[in-house]
Subunit: 263 residues, 2 copies
């Protein structure tokens, strides 16, 4: 039987909130299984760019990353956030080790094409170094990964953290029973977007089609869920969506929405 | 026979100069032996602190590190500089992997006491994780180390890069034939501080005493050389002092000053 590994992605809403971050890291450090933490950026990068008078342009939630903005996100994501999180986890007896995608060639990406829109120094994941991650996990380390990758030719690239989590999950699927966990503002996938009590506990591909057909999935969730089912199709065991505050319960399957392969 | 490992420290004068850095990294990537790069900070951190209106106070070349300055140095040293260097080395087929002292508990330090002067969040090295470094080197990685450490209780600390290089050299001495190389503005230890042609090629403890007694060692060099001989006393094979531009020659023993144990 393959060992379980949790790939857990947290977003800016946790990073930006000191008390919630500390509480989340405590729960994270208590997970007994192997684990990887992927973190996003939060408002810190935008705030720093503002102070430095570097104009920020967002298109559909993605940051246009010019050369100066790349320096800012590298400093904030791979420097301040990554090292603060690692130091705190170390204090909680979790043997964390921080990575950008450049370190040990962990994540190689390609600069996104400019045909539709020039995102600047933004990378789409090409290859995850699964042997390195596997070795680290087997040696007892907990990788903490910042959303900065490289192209193998010396260029750092800003990369979406959700995508990194998903690509890592897929890359580890041949070696581990992978549980991919997305922390999210809502308690899970909701039947009624205004009712936190309407969490759908389990969705499989068939029920997903039915829910979509019945118009019961909030439009904004569809790309996220399509991606999640693609990961499951690619061998990931489960995708769990829920609130970081409920990490303990999410890991135990007692909260959030669990996406599974129904077969 | 123990395998050789080079611990190479570069300072701000190389980091700040794009062309010199690129040339240095190319020479560094060509070193066939095992190697570790320790980098300092340079003017970038001071520049960023200035732009952010964080007053900087230096005492005897050491930065007083308040909470805001700690954020700046963590961003610049462990983020921007460390990841840029790693990405460039990766492009040169050198399997670099970036570290702060927090990552994998690589370097644990103690916050410096405030009895004489409050340096703020500055750490003095307590322990280097030699097993982790040894494992990385044996697995073919080249660690690239930023001068940020942690105290094991969640606090990052700004730490002198010269000291980090020396402590790493001492920690690896039982396992490797360690060559500690300090890059320096001058071509080596000079008999006449104004004459680059007056490099002393080799110094052992006896000749060091004679040179000091004869007043032939520039006062500013004495603490550096005392530290170097202490490292040799602690088992380091050689300390080499010279210009980063001459790295190839320094490694071959054809330039710079080599400090050795004369016995």
């Amino acid at each position: 039987m393959k060992a379980s590994v949790y790939i857990i992605k947290i977003g800016g809403n946790i990073i930006d909130d000191e008390a919630r971050l500390q509480e989340f890291l405590r729960s994270f450090s208590h997970i007994q299984a192997l684990k990887v933490l992927v973190h996003g950026g939060g408002k810190l990068a935008t705030k720093l760019a503002d102070t430095l008078n570097i104009p920020q342009q967002m298109v559909e939630g993605r940051r246009i990353t010019d050369a100066e903005t790349l320096k800012v996100v590298t400093m904030v994501y791979a420097g301040l956030i990554n090292k603060s999180v690692v130091a705190r986890l170390q204090a909680m007896q979790c043997n964390a080790i921080g990575f950008s995608g450049a370190d040990g060639n962990l994540i190689k990406s390609n600069k996104r094409g400019t045909a539709q829109l020039d995102y600047g120094f933004v990378g789409d994941v090409e290859l995850v170094n699964a042997p390195l991650l596997t070795q680290l996990l087997r040696d007892g380390y907990t990788p903490v990964i910042a959303p900065i990758t490289h192209n193998g030719h010396g260029q750092l690239l800003n990369t979406n953290a959700d995508t990194i989590a998903q690509e890592i999950a897929k890359a580890l699927a041949p070696f581990f029973a992978v549980q991919l966990l997305y922390s999210f503002e809502k308690k899970g996938v909701l039947l009624d977007v205004d009712d936190d009590g309407s969490v759908i506990p389990v969705i499989d591909p068939t029920s997903y089609q039915n829910l979509k057909t019945a118009g019961k999935i909030f439009a904004g969730m569809i790309p996220k869920l399509d991606n999640a089912f693609a990961a499951i199709q690619a061998g990931v065991d489960k995708v769990i969506i829920g609130q970081a505050e409920e990490l303990d319960m999410l890991v135990q399957g007692k909260a959030g929405t669990m996406l599974i392969n129904g077969k």
